[in-house]
């Protein structure tokens, strides 16, 4: 008998793939008690979600196989129960929410129907379920709950959708809520709200919360205990504070060390004529103004970060500068000439001076082209840069420069990891010897440790080659370590601009301060004290 609410013991899960069996988790054990929050922390491929999938019977068998282990819940091994017995537990006793709520809600049924189904599937009448669904929507703070019941998932914002998922998961008052990366796709300010809601609901119901995340900040904000996973194994476990302050395992130390936002801030040194001067740039889509008069300068060899949440217009800014979209007004002077008024022919010649690195290298690299083709394609388009005889040599040089090996040139994108692919994308941008590289969320999709490596690489390229960067990101800590100047945007408006030190140490605008406050620090103590100061004004209102 286990005295814990739920306990996973010595779990081994394998997946049988075309390339042979892959062990996804290897002897993983953890437990969760009532009212407690346990975080499983790991990077992609660490197997952090697999044990939760085993608890919820979400592993497809085959190709999956549970080779060993047990999942004890109320003294019974879940893995030994029948399908029907397990079905009666799912949703009712153990519920789960996921990372991308838009994909995880059925697009063709109304929100009210989907929440009610959670209850009707477990024997509650439709009328009673409808009543409770309304209560739940009210509880999780959905505006106009009566109307919301009849609406469909696509009619809500990202944060509201996650609230809907939470309402649905809590409909049967489960003993355990499993949250798999519940805030990863959300803006920082929304993330803080959703995490606060989860904590509140946990206090009300006394449920155990199992949180699966890659984010040390999320762990610091909500977890009591943490299980650190790497390559299918638990490498360390303990209270969130202990693990952060006294990490025992080298992997944990590396993970904590890679957390962005801890290094020294840059002191801008660049002087002279601006490479790029943006004056009163506007862009509207019909009645929607995506850019409302943006102005800032970018000097040669300097990094300007543009930071904002979704809908802030930061990506529109990049697309407009690269003439992927036409601006509605304003000027963008590149070495004194207006980019936005240039002819197609002039723009073609100029494109080699401005290169771009995108968020998702698995989509921005053509999967049917080898690395050599991907990089050398630029020279086929701009033949005056490099004679064909020197292509092979230069590709090798570029690959070395971004930390890959020259023999990688023959391989195809799918043979690389996410971080390596982003390095290839950077090598491709470097091939044209640009003066400016625009990075649109270039490290957002990467694991923290890889993120740190890519940032270090970009920083080094800037020092060695004098390349300027326009770095578009939603993540403030990443920007803090890398940028010279920061531009904060919200709703198409430029809220504040300044040196990195001005923005992080002495932010003037309330929005910048809110954005900084909503960011999660990996140190549980810092988060605890922030929670206190956040609670204080709320108490003052009472």
């Amino acid at each position: 008998m286990s005295e814990h609410l739920i306990e996973v013991r010595d779990l081994v899960v394998r997946f049988h793939t075309a390339a042979g069996p892959v062990t996804a988790v290897d002897g993983v054990s953890w437990y969760l008690d009532r009212g407690e929050t346990l975080a499983i922390l790991g990077e992609s491929g660490s197997g952090k979600s697999v044990s939760a999938s085993a608890v919820m019977d979400l592993i497809d068998i085959p190709p999956g196989e549970i080779a060993r282990g047990s999942v004890l819940f109320e003294g019974r091994d879940l893995l030994k129960l029948s399908r029907e017995e397990r079905r009666r537990i799912h949703g009712k006793r153990i519920a789960m929410i996921f990372q991308d709520p838009l994909a995880h809600l059925n697009p063709t049924y109304s929100v009210g129907w989907q929440i009610s189904e959670m209850m009707t599937a477990h024997g509650i009448s439709r009328a009673a379920a409808g009543q409770r669904a309304l209560e739940l929507l009210r509880r999780v703070g959905i505006p106009d709950p009566e109307g919301a019941l009849g609406r469909y998932p696509h009619q809500f914002s990202g944060g509201q959708r996650q609230r809907l998922m939470i309402a649905m998961a809590l409909a049967m008052k489960p003993d355990i809520l499993i949250a798999d990366e519940p805030t990863t796709a959300l803006d920082v300010t929304v993330q803080a709200e959703v995490l606060a809601l989860l904590k509140e609901l946990q206090k009300e119901t006394g449920m155990g919360l199992l949180l699966i995340t890659h984010d040390l900040g999320v762990v610091a904000e909500v977890a009591d205990r943490v299980v650190v996973m790497n390559a299918g194994k638990v490498v360390e476990t303990g209270t969130a504070r202990d693990v952060y302050h006294n990490p025992a395992h080298p992997y944990t130390r590396r993970l904590i060390g890679a957390a962005p936002g801890k290094g020294a801030m840059h002191e801008p040194v660049a002087t002279g004529e601006p490479l790029l001067r943006i004056e009163n740039l506007t862009k509207s889509y019909g009645a929607v103004e995506a850019l409302k008069g943006i102005s800032f300068d970018l000097l040669p060899g300097e990094t300007v970060a543009v930071v904002g949440e979704s809908g802030s217009g930061k990506s529109t800014l990049a697309r407009t500068l690269l003439r992927l979209e036409d601006a509605s007004g304003g000027r963008a002077l590149w070495k004194g000439r207006d980019l936005l008024a240039m002819s197609t022919r002039d723009m073609f010649a100029l494109r080699r001076q401005i290169q771009m690195v995108f968020q998702d290298p698995s989509q921005s690299l053509n999967p049917r082209m080898s690395v050599f083709q991907l990089i050398s394609e630029a020279w086929a388009i701009h033949p005056d840069i490099l004679p064909k005889a020197r292509w092979r040599e230069r590709v090798a040089e570029l690959l070395t420069q971004v930390g890959l090996s020259p023999d990688h040139a023959r391989r195809y994108p799918h043979q690389f990891s996410g971080g390596q692919r982003q390095r290839i994308a950077i090598a491709r941008a470097l091939a044209l010897e640009p003066d400016l590289i625009v990075c649109d969320e270039a490290v957002s999709a990467l694991d923290v440790s890889i993120q740190a490596q890519v940032i270090a690489l970009l920083d080094q390229l800037r020092r060695d080659l004098g390349i300027a960067f326009l770095f578009i990101a939603h993540d403030l800590p990443v920007v803090r370590d890398f940028a010279d100047h920061v531009v904060v945007m919200q709703g198409g408006r430029l809220v504040e601009k300044g040196t990195v030190r001005q923005i992080f140490d002495t932010p003037k605008e309330p929005y910048t301060r809110a954005l900084l406050a909503a960011g999660l620090d990996p140190d549980p103590d810092v988060q605890a004290s922030r929670r206190k100061t956040r609670a204080a004004p709320a108490l003052a209102l009472l």
């Binding site: 799912h90 063709t108 599937a121």
Partner: protein, 304 residues
Amino acid sequence: MLRFVRQRVTASLISLVGLIVLVFFLSRLTGDPTNLFLPIDASDQMREQFRQLHGLNDPLIVQFGRYVWDLLHLDFGESIRQARPAINVVLQAFVWTFQLAVITMVLVTLAAVVCGSLAAFNAGGLFDRFVSLLSLIGAAAPDFWVAIVAITLLAVKLSWLPTSGTGTLWHWIMPIGVLFIRPFGLILQVVRGSMLSTLGSAYVKTARAKGVRTKSIIFVHTLRNALLPVITVIGDQAASLLNGAVVVETIFGFPGVGKLMIDSILQRDFNVILAAIMVTALAIFVMNILIDLGYALLDPRIRY
């Protein structure tokens, strides 16, 4: 929504006008119907009289003007061959084709959706492999060959079914059976593929985590979403049946619009050709609009 229907109706009418112009002049290129209708020994005077009667002597553009003028008064002209209004001839045949198409498509859709769903749920299983093989054979076998083999076997050798005509329920079995095969195989494969990808979707995972029963996962959560791409294929297949299943109608002597069209082209019965094309085109336009509305009904994200 009303605006959408109005736009679609306008667009359809424009294509209909284009179609009328095209068919009117193209069919005249095939030659003069006079010699086909009158006996070989008919006198020149009789021929001249025939041409006068049907206005075949006037310049083509005058004939066209007259045709359009009549059309605006909903007069589709006379069938030369049957000496009664062309539209009556066509509508009579269209009713047959329409019945044949509707019955076939309803059967095909039901069978393909059920078999495709089950095959997808047990992908790689015995049933899946069996129906996949069946649908491949169905897609590969030419329908005229299947029709002839069916007649030889079921009608001639075994005398179970009548060879052709429309008298009884038994007459319908072979035409429907032959028409069934190809769209069944095609739609089944589309249903199967669409179900497979939908079963792997995130919201199906949510339904499993909610403890929803398997039956409900397949038929409530998965099927509705999986049917969206299927509707397009169903519409496409139904359109080709409404056009008249020319080969099958000819082989089974089925008095549908496909057979009528072939006959009137061979006989240069211009008014019937034009009326038949207009009626089938209209039916296809209406069906396409209904399909678009069906999309909106199934998927709340689509609003016109």
